[in-house]
Structures are given as structure tokens and as C-alpha cells.
Subunit: 192 residues, 2 copies
DNA sequence: TTGAATAATGGACTGCATTCTATTAATTGC
DNA sequence: GCAATTAATAGAATGCAGTCCATTATTCAA
């Protein structure tokens, strides 16, 4: 996914990008990542197989673009520091994340799986998806620390990894992510 | 992997089990999970492909048996409650786990990936591998709570998920698991 | 000794992601 | 128009997991 305005040669058909992402998004949400073949995606998009591979280097990359650019807006903006307590902000953030994962959790699990088999894709996923979300929570915790809502000895980076880790761990082991979990994480982080 | 002492029929060749596990263990450690094919495993074991599938239903199941039965001993026994503090016991446990994952971490990552694509295998892995290890840490934390090393308001189950989650999350995103991480987790759990 | 039951074997088969190849199409600079 | 360049296309080829099949082997019970 990059271009450099070449001086000659046939130009890319820009509509193919959108057609492929849209086809991938629709099919993956309808049937699930594992049940969607490359053949089905290119057929739905009306392009040749190689056209897909000219743009993305794997099914996982295309789906990461398709599903999580759409959804990239979820939790893409920093967590708003409204008047509420950091505890409430964290819980609200988790509830929002879990709600989105009701729709796309299966896809995220497939993406995480793909990242374990492809180091390049792991890096891409980490930089584009994982670290920004981790940083949002780290920032929230730093603000909380500055305001005294958590003690000065706490480690916001470690805590952020433990928070994300907790629901990754639950999700990857087949447990549902519900409001009870969001509350339990909040309580454990902001304990008395 | 089960038998019921049938009353007739050709008996299983018991040596094939060991040959397959040994071949899988050796090949996966030497080349890495993704680079080992079923064809290579059965060739090394000197049996037919179907003989493998008579015993395990996928490459992931065989490797889970092969690598983590061998290694099942790591952290398979409850964490010894020696005289040391629970904080020290937790850190020692994590250091031991991380040391083993230097050898088999890549395989564990592949197993977790496989579990995301196969619900039956996910259940098997969870029951046989994940939950027992989670319970060990939960027990440790309960003992610590009974002795007052952590406050009565803490939630040992949630904490255990956060501890395991933290290193799963780090591992699955390509970070090394070192002594510093073990120490940081310990400090965050047993904070002042 | 024979039949029923189950295992082992070699090889064929299916479905899939990804790569490769040859051909045709669109563009720029001349 | 023409050469050079890059894209799109259809389809073949590769490599692999998992399944299916026909044949042969081993055991038990009658």
C-alpha cells in the first residue's frame, strides 16, 4: 500500500483498492475470516488475483486494512479527558472496545494468529494497531498518576500491558469480553 | 489420543506414538513449527501419514502433546510454598517460565495461533495447558492474600489473568520475555 | 480355519494461499 | 506512431494440511 507517482506505465486502477477492501470487509464479517478465500474476495471485487497481491502481500494485510481502517476510528482518538475519574474513563474505554470486538473479535483473533506466522506482518500489526492503543491507556494512566488517582510507585506502562494483556488473554482463550470484565479490570487497577 | 482396549482388530503399534512425538519434537525445535511439514514428520517417524491422523487430529495437537508433555513438567507442579515471600515466589515462577519459553516460545505462539482457527483445539489447549498454569498463580495469590501479603480487596483470579495476559501480550507482539519483565510484573502486583 | 474388526500403508485427492507466466492494456516521452 | 514502462488479467504451477481409498496386516472369537 504505497505509490510513488511514476513517470510512465499504466496507472493503478484506484477503484480496485476500494473494491477489494469493501469485498473483504463484507465477506469477512458475513462468513468469518477463516471461511473467506482469496478467490472469493477477488471474485466479489471483480479483479484478478494478482491485482490483490500488487497491493497487499497477504490476506491478513488486506483484512487488517479493510476491517481496522473502518474500525480504526474506534479507540483511534485519544481517550477524552472529560471531567470523570480516570477509573470511569478506563472502564468506559474497555466497554467500548469490548463492544466493537463483539463484531470484529473473531477477525482480530485471526489477525493475531496470522501475526504469529509472519514476522513482517507482526511488525505492521504492532505498529499500526497494537502500540497506538496501548499508548492510549498508558497516557490515561499517566494522567491519573499526575492527579493522584493512582500511586506514584505504579508503573503505567506495565499496567497498560497488563490491562490489554488481560483481555487479549481472555479473548484468545475463548472467553467472552463483557461489562463484568471491564469492571473487574478497573477495580484491580484503581484499587483502594 | 485415547484407546479403549478393543476386543478384536489389529492393535495399535504403540511405538508409533513415541516415534511421532519424538520426530515432531526434534523437527519443531530444530526448524520451527511453521517450517515443519506433516510429510517431514511422518517420514522422520517412519510411518504413514494416516497413522498420525489416527492418533491426533492436527499438527497442532501432535505438537502440543510432543512439546508440552515433555515440557509439561515446567510449571506443572504447584508453585512450592517455601519460606520465601509470595512476591519472590511469583518472580521465580515467571523467570522459570520465561526461561522455558526461550526454547519453546515460538512453538507456543504457533499453538496459540492454531487455537484461534480451531475451536476444538482451543478447548483442548485451554484445559490441558492454559487453565492449570493460570490456577497455579491464582493459588499463589490466594495464599499471599491469606497471609496478608496482598490486600483483602484484591481479586486473585483477575490478577492471575493480568499476569499471564501481560506476558502473552508481550510475547505475541514480538517482545522478549526477560528478567526485567518478571520483576516489573512482581512489583506491580505486590506494590507498596 | 475362517470371519469380523481394526490398523498400517502408499498414494491419490481436495481446498487453499501464494507465486509465476504469458498476454493484453494504459500511460509517458520521443 | 513507437519504445519503454507498469498494470491487469486468466490461468497454470507449487506447496501444504487434511481426507479418502484400496490393499494388506494383525488380532480375537467362533
Amino acid at each position: 500500500m504505497q505509490q510513488e507517482d511514476r513517470t510512465s506505465g499504466r496507472p493503478r486502477d484506484v477503484s480496485a483498492d476500494a473494491a477489494l477492501k469493501s469485498a473483504a470487509l463484507g465477506l469477512v464479517r458475513a462468513r468469518g475470516y477463516g471461511k473467506v478465500s482469496i478467490a472469493a474476495i477477488v471474485a466479489a471485487a471483480g479483479v484478478a488475483r494478482q491485482t490483490l497481491y500488487n497491493r497487499w502481500s497477504s490476506k491478513a494485510e488486506l483484512v487488517l486494512d479493510a476491517v481496522f481502517e473502518e474500525v480504526g476510528r474506534y479507540a483511534a482518538a485519544p481517550i477524552g479527558d472529560d471531567g470523570t475519574s480516570a477509573a470511569e474513563q478506563l472502564e468506559a474505554f474497555l466497554v467500548q472496545v469490548f463492544a466493537h470486538l463483539e463484531e470484529d473479535g473473531e477477525t482480530l483473533r485471526a489477525i493475531i494468529a496470522a501475526a504469529q506466522e509472519d514476522a513482517d506482518f507482526q511488525r505492521l500489526f504492532r505498529e499500526r494497531f497494537v502500540l497506538p492503543r496501548e499508548a492510549m491507556v498508558t497516557d490515561l494512566l499517566r494522567r491519573a498518576q499526575a492527579r493522584g488517582e493512582i500511586g506514584p510507585a505504579r508503573d503505567p506502562e506495565m499496567l497498560s500491558a497488563m490491562i490489554h494483556g488481560a483481555f487479549w488473554y481472555r479473548m484468545l482463550n475463548g472467553f467472552a469480553l463483557d461489562k463484568g470484565l471491564a469492571r473487574a479490570i478497573r477495580d484491580e487497577v484503581f484499587r483502594p
